[in-house]
Symmetry: C2
Subunit: 320 residues, 2 copies
């Protein structure tokens, strides 16, 4: 049975899995990314982990290795100054790992891998034009147009999190700019909105008893379920900014569906309803009432590994 | 020598030309679109004009017919309620003309055809990721990503003119929405800006002697050349809104170049300099200093016919 190796490189852990053609993860392993502050040793550990996975699964040579990483660059096969990673500079991970193991290797960033993962293994198997959006600490996005990943000239396309969400000024973003969409629309963004609303009003709220660092997206959803006005207003405000921007995305890409994943997407109708309403309000007739909102069904545990594994399909399918 | 027929259907005239593989227009003809208020008779006139073009050029069967029209839909082969055209409803132009002449026929909207025209015949022959923007009465745009036209699910992708240019409110657009980019960034948009600046200031200006209907883009450029402060401020304001939005386009599509055409693009450095500066100011480091601004070299007379003719290449090349 042909398998691929999916690797999810994150700021805390590195997760590896063996993935079948049907999208089942038959074995997996993980280790702490920061245990290997020297990049060469990290690549060595990756190679060892892959070999031990293949041995444990009684597998022969896999079809390929797919890697998703912050700032992973598909064209160059590098990680370009990835956020929260121990190593500096531009790291030629693809060539090093491919050199060490002799197995075809592909790299991309998390969001592009997530989009391809939905196309190959997830809810987007039958869709050729869609946008995948992950609402976590930031806002990650990947665009599929005409069945293919939109990469752009240097592989930096599809960064919806950093288009402007609020003119003329706006919240400071990690990227150094102000007003980026993810400073409003993400798990962190809605927390910032909650605290801004607390500052601007006298409204009593559960959130007056919680610190910024302690507040979770789950608590915001729970407070909304109990009718907390600040929570409800925060969802409305987030949906207004998100929906307005998705209308622009719809006009530029004419997608059939928008797929949501990540912590804030678990708020379900609290986030989807205002977002959809504001998106529709900003659309011309030709676009109205046509775009579906879907939720990723890959599961938060396996989605990244499956997304990474799906990159291997670009070796011989027309996905890029 | 293989030729294609390029047809540009506009609100005043319909222009047809025979185009060689090198992009030379070897013969052409035009007639008044409004002379044929009945659609069937219009199609009949198109067929007659094509036959007479082929006869006059001593041509045999052409490879195909490409048509650009307002709201031309590539997938359906129809014109969907095109602006300024005499006919109502959804018109199956492709099938009717193909039925009448037995020649493969392709339809698209003006902006997509213009983008493909630059790829096939113009300044974008070697580019695979670029945006074509026509700054005329409105703002038309076509996106090429990974060498292919971005069409979207139903063929409505790439309408940059109708993304929001000014939040929270903005100028009323022909499409019924408020604040669309083309209400600021187009030949009409900069006229509106001139009149808004005249209203807001006491600044003396050439424009105080001209009516809205009489004012041309050429006069705005000439006034800027003579140091008219209102003209210079209008270009700066237009560039701020255009550049801010192009930064978002750059983050979503990562293009190598932006190609400008249309009346307002003739203002040259007056429009390009502030646009480029504001675009760069809104970009993250990975995108800065990389995007070229190019001007269409196809000539305003022939560009639409060449764009239409280039659509025929989609019959057997991987352009869509």
């Amino acid at each position: 049975m042909p398998v691929t190796v999916g690797i999810d490189i994150g700021g805390t852990g590195t997760k590896l899995g063996l993935v079948t053609d049907e999208g089942d993860i038959i074995s997996r392993v993980e280790f702490n990314t920061w245990d290997f502050p020297k990049f060469n040793e990290y690549v060595g550990e990756l190679a060892r982990s892959i070999n031990s996975l293949l041995k444990s699964g009684n597998q022969g040579e896999p079809v390929g290795i797919g890697i998703c990483a912050p700032m992973g660059n598909y064209f160059k096969g590098t990680i370009d100054k990835g956020y929260n990673l121990p190593w500096q500079g531009v790291l030629p991970l693809r060539d090093q790992l491919q050199g060490a193991l002799g197995i075809p290797t592909i790299i991309s960033n998390d969001a592009n891998a997530a989009a391809l993962g939905e196309k190959v293994f997830g809810v987007a198997k039958d869709l050729n034009d869609f946008v995948m959006i992950t609402l976590g600490t930031g806002l990650g996005s990947g665009f599929i147009s005409n069945g293919k990943l939109v990469l752009g000239f240097e592989g930096f396309a599809g960064e919806l999190g950093h288009v402007n969400g609020k003119k003329p000024s706006g919240r400071l973003c990690n990227c150094g700019k102000k007003g980026c969409l993810e400073t409003y629309v993400s798990a962190t963004g809605i927390k910032r909105t909650i605290f801004s609303l607390l500052a601007d009003s006298h409204e009593g709220s559960y959130f007056r008893t919680v610190s910024f660092d302690d507040l979770s997206t789950k608590e915001i959803t729970e407070a909304a379920e109990e009718g907390d006005k600040i929570a409800l207003e925060a969802f409305e405000y987030t949906g207004e900014i998100f929906g307005g921007k998705l209308a622009e995305v719809a006009i530029l890409f004419n997608p059939e569906a928008i797929i949501l994943a990540g912590g804030l997407s678990k708020a379900g109708h609290f986030i989807i309803d205002p977002t959809k309403r504001h998106m529709e309000d900003n659309l011309m007739d030709a676009y109205k009432g046509k775009i579906r909102f879907l939720s990723s069904q890959l599961g938060s545990e396996g989605a990244a590994i499956l997304g990474a594994a799906s990159l291997v399909r670009t070796l011989n399918a027309e996905l890029i």
